[in-house]
Subunit: 243 residues, 2 copies
Amino acid sequence: MNLEEVARLAGVSRSTVSRVVNGDAKVSASVRARVQDVVREHGYHPNAAARSLASRRTRILGLLIPRASGAIFSDPFFPVLIQGAVDACNHADHNLMLLMDTDEEAPTAEGSRLHRRVLRGRHLDGVAVAASVVDDPVVALLRKERLPFVLIGRHPDPAVAYVDADNRGGSRAAVAHLVAHGRRRIATIAGPRTIRAGRDRLDGYRDALAAAKLPSNPALIGDGDFSRRDAHRATHALFGQPP
Amino acid sequence: MNLEEVARLAGVSRSTVSRVVNGDAKVSASVRARVQDVVREHGYHPNAAARSLASRRTRILGLLIPRASGAIFSDPFFPVLIQGAVDACNHADHNLMLLMDTDEEAPTAEGSRLHRRVLRGRHLDGVAVAASVVDDPVVALLRKERLPFVLIGRHPDPAVAYVDADNRGGSRAAVAHLVAHGRRRIATIAGPRTIRAGRDRLDGYRDALAAAKLPSNPALIGDGDFSRRDAHRATHALFGQPP
DNA sequence: CTGTTAGCGCGTTCAT
DNA sequence: ATGAACGCGCTAACAG
């Protein structure tokens, strides 16, 4: 069942059916109704590939998760991220393609599968990149392919679009809240300094302490890697501190 | 840059280029080399949509995760599942589309987005279904669409393909191992009986006890829901038992 | 082994 | 408002 058949059954041209299917306004009510009946009755649905070929859009968005962040298994952030991406795609009537490099190959190399098949094949309308590493080379690649993209997590280059939580501000607000409640000995468990979010939150913590004229005690800064395990360990260590 | 251009530059026909690109053996070595040079030099890569339209294959596989299993966030199984699916797709030079229903709509209804756009649009070559619920109605849907699919987790109907761990056998082997080491008082923390895996593993436990002629003591069977929390609680409860 | 010829199913001018 | 005609880029018979 394709456009052609629907057109025949409805006694109109393919163009008209296409217009109805795509919600084009320039179709008389009667014709529209007739076409819609046929569509419904025969369960017609446009073929995605043909549509993509003609329209030059795939209605597929990519979510690129660097394998490097092997944290996919431990960090509870990823399931949430994935779920959110899928939801957003659903709402926009798009589909989500999950892109992760497989260990063996350099993910950003010119010849990588990702690069070859997905990016060059124009398989995607755009891609969101869960950039773990600052200055990920994938950025250059995406630019060269002229594929619209957005980074998840701040990026130094002001020209690249990104979305991120306000890590520093949030951290600062949390600590300020404790200060406002009279606390004066406030600890934090900081993430790796190699990761932006880790640095930013620690900065926010320090911001708030400084604003409250509280001393910054290194002994009150625990270390973690965003995992439960580390958080657990660091918490115990902190509580083991002398008061 | 498309087949046509490559053909022109290499002084051959489109078909020949297509053959080279698709690894068809019936091309002379010299011509093949010439074509490959042009391809590499100009960074040609076949357009996915056009290819799909002509070949009637998308090289996209779906991974359907029912939202119902809200466990996506807590159950560490899902990240592993997703990762595994992506890896398998990568190896087979396919891509993975992630399918999850969004809360608001009945996932299996005829008019659901999933059904309309993805299944009927022939967007996928096949789909793997992380079936949580026994007798998921999505099975009927997939059958009707004649879309190849495989369930992740056992299914009652022998006609549907599924992959699963050998829960019963694995459990039996684990317990038998303890028995072989002289243990005679063996406990288990069983999953929900409503879930196949839970029942199967408990059955395996009982199998092994029976085979060893050991009594089955209900007090040694803890309850859990596959979560860390429950496992922790149940373990404490078991250790609290009188010896 | 290579080229020619048809489509694949749809979007999109351009006339009417 | 509707239809005719063309093109999207590629695969797949079919000849030769």
